[in-house]
């Protein structure tokens, strides 16, 4: 998913990239939350820096900002609270009960 990137800088301590989220056609949560989620296209689907896959229900969770390890996100379609972690150089979401 290519949302509009509204700020970017280089370097280790660079500020996070910020995004304007577009509607993706996802309709499984109330309207006001829909742009924060999208359907996963399977193993060939590439996640953007502001996206992470829910391990419980396989929906892509989207954020207004680039995600980093330690971030907290919510999966509304399956009601899970998740923590973003780095694993093998990739960001993954782990359920935080």
């Amino acid at each position: 998913m290519n949302d509009t990137l509204i700020s970017q800088a280089a370097g280790e301590d660079r500020p996070r990239q910020m995004y304007v989220l577009e509607e993706t056609g996802f309709k499984e949560v109330p309207k006001k939350f829909r742009r924060f989620y999208r359907k996963w296209g399977g193993p060939m689907d590439t996640l953007a820096p502001n996206e992470v896959l829910c391990p419980v229900c396989k929906i892509v969770i989207r954020s207004l900002q680039e995600l980093r390890a330690g971030d907290k996100v919510y999966c509304m379609p399956c009601m899970s609270r998740l923590i973003v972690e780095e694993e093998d150089g990739m960001l993954v979401a782990k359920v935080n009960y």
Binding site: K27, V73, M76, P77
Partner: protein, 258 residues
């Protein structure tokens, strides 16, 4: 009122109140069920099926009805001994979902020419699934919250989620839409179960051994049923989907071995 709201900015308490609410449920189901009486777009044309395919689909749908009836009876019973208001309210939305699932599946059976669905379900019901239902309702009758949530919202819902999702990919257009709508509901049900039990196991780790015994007793009953279902649908051999994958992922996250 703002057009959108960032869910990730909610506090954990606000998030849990939101997703367990009837308001959330209304807003969610409106998105994917509006203008879909009996779970599908009425403009969709049904396809011709040969007798063998139709018979396999009828058997499959009859067993889905057994699973949905089990979940309907169990979730409605669980409201009476749910541990808090949010769980009671969530379960009331689950009851509505399960009742709808049963209704749309029965409607599909009549579309396929089944004149007496009740009798057909009794004749075609898988014994393993009936045994699972019996045990689930025993947990409910005994007001055993953890066992009931584990059996229903983790074991049954996870396996239904996987089976329905895979079946939808190979189904006729009407059955496909019906199953896709059910799968969206199942996301909430299985997520509720995993998260509720996950929180409880952290607070009371001694529950682990008892739930592990329940898992060992019950998961094979549901797995056996749904493996047979795949056979009835012709999804066998190397191309058969890995039914246990989502389920095993969920129980592994909860700390249970396979």
């Amino acid at each position: 009122m703002a057009e959108w709201q960032d869910p990730h900015a909610l506090t954990e308490g606000e998030f849990l109140d939101e997703v367990h609410s009837f308001e959330f449920w209304f807003g969610a189901v409106e998105g994917y069920l509006h203008d879909r009486p009996y779970g599908y777009d009425p403009e969709t044309e049904d396809i011709e099926m040969d007798d063998r395919r139709k018979d396999g689909l009828i058997t499959t749908l009859c067993n889905y009805c057994v699973g949905e009836t089990a979940a309907l009876e169990a979730s409605s019973g669980m409201i009476g001994f749910a541990p808090d208001r949010a769980s009671q309210i969530f379960l009331s939305t689950q009851v509505a979902d399960e009742g709808r699932h049963l209704e749309v599946l029965l409607h599909r059976l009549t579309m396929l020419g089944v004149r007496d669905p009740k009798r057909e379900i009794e004749a075609r019901a898988n014994r393993s699934l009936l045994r699972f239902k019996e045990r689930l309702l025993e947990f409910v009758d005994g007001h055993d919250w953890e066992a009931a949530v584990f059996a229903q919202n983790v074991i049954l819902e996870c396996l239904e989620f996987t089976v329905f999702r895979n079946h939808a990919q190979n189904a006729d257009p009407i059955t496909k839409q019906i199953l896709q709508g059910i799968v969206i509901d199942e996301r909430r049900h299985m997520g509720f179960g995993e998260n509720d039990l996950g929180r409880r196991l952290i607070l009371a780790p001694h529950m682990h051994d008892r739930l592990d015994r329940i898992k060992r007793e019950l998961d094979s009953l549901v797995l056996t049923t749904f493996k047979q279902t795949l056979g009835e649908l012709g999804l066998e051999g190397d191309d058969a989907p890995d039914l246990a994958s989502d389920y095993l992922g969920a129980v592994a996250r909860l700390g249970f071995g396979t």
